[in-house]
């Protein structure tokens, strides 16, 4: 697939994401200004907000000015605090990024070795246990796993803080909650793709050369097995990013996800809109990066 085609489709997707998030506010049943300000607001405030959001303009013009403002890094203002939304996002985004990256790391560090272990023990009871556990636990939603971990490690054992972000160890429980599903999926993927590769001719050649089992697995087999793993990590980044919404809420972690939930509770729709947009755009970028990495990692794709 050539680069121009890829770029066009990427730009179309970004345009679509912008359009869809822009239209969100128009899905509010009735008058969005009424919903946001409540019944008791006076006429002047209503008109001011309506003009501020540009809701008195024709739809196409509204979208045009939405894009124009966005290009200047202007995401609008919060209805409740009047703070520019870009400032809110800038304050919260690093926390979400930190949480997502640590979960990703946990997912990889736990998932890949477990997958290798299961593949090497394929057919034995160890493999059976790892597979059952990883298949079943990957379906465990964060709003159940989070509280259980909190109960065990924060309340009963008292090893870690319950919630908040006051100490350095506060990130551990939310990151484990978030990274758990990913590690389970990675375990399965690593096992499957390693098993596929292990029967290939070049692995037999490598063994026949007298290479140590460690070199055969780590240098030869794992390298080829990495490709599907990269794809899965990229795809799973999406659920990781979406997962921050619930995980951050459970653990009072002040990131974009929690900002989103707070804005929904306060009906601060411009903030809701901006959070959704930022998370979606992050995901689009991650997917692009995955694609590039994939090309770098696989000579067959690179030279195709």
């Amino acid at each position: 697939m050539n680069i121009i085609k890829r770029l066009t489709s990427l730009l179309t997707v970004i345009f679509g994401v912008l359009l869809l998030t822009f239209l969100l506010i128009h899905l509010v049943p009735g008058d969005p200004v009424d919903v946001m300000l409540g019944e008791s607001a006076n006429m002047a405030d209503r008109e001011a907000l309506r003009a501020d959001l540009g809701l008195d303009q024709p739809l196409v013009k509204q979208f045009g000015s939405y894009l124009a403002k966005l290009a200047q890094g202007d995401l609008g203002k919060s209805i409740h605090t009047q703070t520019p939304i870009i400032d809110l996002i800038q304050a919260r985004y690093p926390a979400t990024l930190k949480l997502a990256l640590l979960s990703l790391l946990i997912g990889i560090v736990v998932g890949v070795p477990l997958g290798i272990f299961a593949a090497l023990k394929a057919g034995h009871w160890q493999d059976f246990i790892v597979t059952i556990v990883s298949v079943r636990l990957s379906a465990m939603p964060a709003f159940w796993l989070g509280p259980v971990l909190m109960l065990i490690f924060a309340v009963w054992l008292g090893w870690l803080p319950v919630s908040g972000m006051d100490s350095g160890s506060s990130i551990i429980l939310p990151a484990v909650t978030l990274g758990f599903g990913l590690s389970a999926i990675l375990t399965r993927m690593t096992r499957t793709s390693l098993l596929e590769v292990l029967n290939d001719d070049y692995i037999r050649t490598a063994r026949a050369k007298g290479l140590s089992e460690q070199t055969v697995i780590l240098r030869h087999a794992l390298r080829a097995a990495l490709l599907p793993i990269i794809t899965i990590v990229g795809l799973q980044m999406g659920s990781l990013l979406a997962g921050t919404v619930i995980t951050e809420t459970i653990f009072s972690w002040d990131g974009v996800g929690r900002l989103l939930v707070e804005s929904i509770e306060k009906r601060d729709y411009p903030v809701t809109q901006a959070c959704v947009l930022i998370v979606a755009l992050s995901y689009v970028l991650v997917n692009l990066a995955t694609d590039v990495l994939y090309r770098l990692a696989d000579p067959r794709v690179r030279h195709a």
Partner: protein
């Protein structure tokens, strides 16, 4: 394992019926038993308003099934139609339809459903609408991929050359071959819709008080976790057992129908 899966599923189906037959009152408040641990009278204990958790779990599972069935039915119908058309016509129709699904896929996980539910406002109807608006995409992708290859099968070409119209080709010659893969996909999606419903309710976007839903119960349970850990453990355990049973059921269905799971 197979037996366990089916018996858990059967258990919850019976529970739905039982909840109706016994006419339990999930909203009856008894202030004397607030946050009480399980007892002979209240098998699952009581919640923060002294309501019987068992009765609320039974009423909540009904909501879970209802939402899962409606959303799966609607999203499958829309997604399959979109996928059939895209895969059958190819070219520009395919390009446009797939571009639209790509845009929906650019929103990770249930983020878009959260956004839709947020602006539509809380409530069961809006929750179902939000999940339907976002859930059809995976069916569209799956169906399109299959249709692309089935379209060139000989029996389809033969029917076409005998003068069969497009609807006949799609629904009599292509769709039946997709049935097993769609049934398996729908089973898994029952479970994921249940999780999505619970997530949205957990965020306060689903059914409103005093009606019971597992997500909303978990939201309350987390709040009282320090004094009444049984609440969160029981409700979460119920949810997990149901999800597990449905997913296991999907696995067996997949093996029985000989469908490769599309990853």
């Amino acid at each position: 394992m197979k037996f366990t899966s089916y018996s858990i599923l059967a258990f919850w189906l019976i529970a739905v019926l039982l909840g109706n037959v016994l006419q339990l009152n999930p909203n009856a408040i008894d202030l004397k038993v607030i946050l009480q641990s399980p007892t002979a009278q209240h098998w699952f204990g009581a919640d923060d308003l002294g309501r019987d958790i068992l009765a609320r779990v039974l009423s909540g599972v009904e909501v879970s099934f209802l939402v899962a069935l409606i959303v799966t039915g609607v999203t499958m119908t829309i997604g399959v139609l979109v996928g059939l058309l895209a895969g059958f016509y190819g070219g520009r129709v395919d390009a446009v339809l797939m571009q639209i699904t790509d845009i929906f896929l650019a929103f990770p996980g249930i983020l878009l459903a959260i956004a839709f539910a947020a602006v539509l406002g809380p409530g069961l109807g809006n929750l179902i609408m939000a999940l339907c608006l976002t859930g059809w995409v995976s069916y569209a992708r799956l169906t399109r991929g299959q249709t692309l290859s089935l379209r060139h099968r000989q029996h389809v070409q033969a029917a076409e050359s005998l003068g069969a119209g497009v609807p006949r080709l799609l629904f009599r010659h292509i769709l039946p071959l997709l049935a097993s893969i769609l049934v398996v996909e729908a089973t898994y999606s029952l479970a994921s819709v249940m999780i999505a419903e619970a997530s949205l309710s957990f965020l306060g976007l689903g059914i409103q008080a005093p009606d019971a839903s597992w997500g909303a119960m978990l939201r309350d349970a987390v709040r009282y976790m320090l004094i009444a850990p049984h609440y969160v453990l029981i409700v979460g355990g119920c949810l997990m057992s149901l999800i597990l049973a449905i997913n296991l059921g999907g696995d067996y269905l997949r093996d029985a129908l000989d469908v490769r799971k599309p990853d």
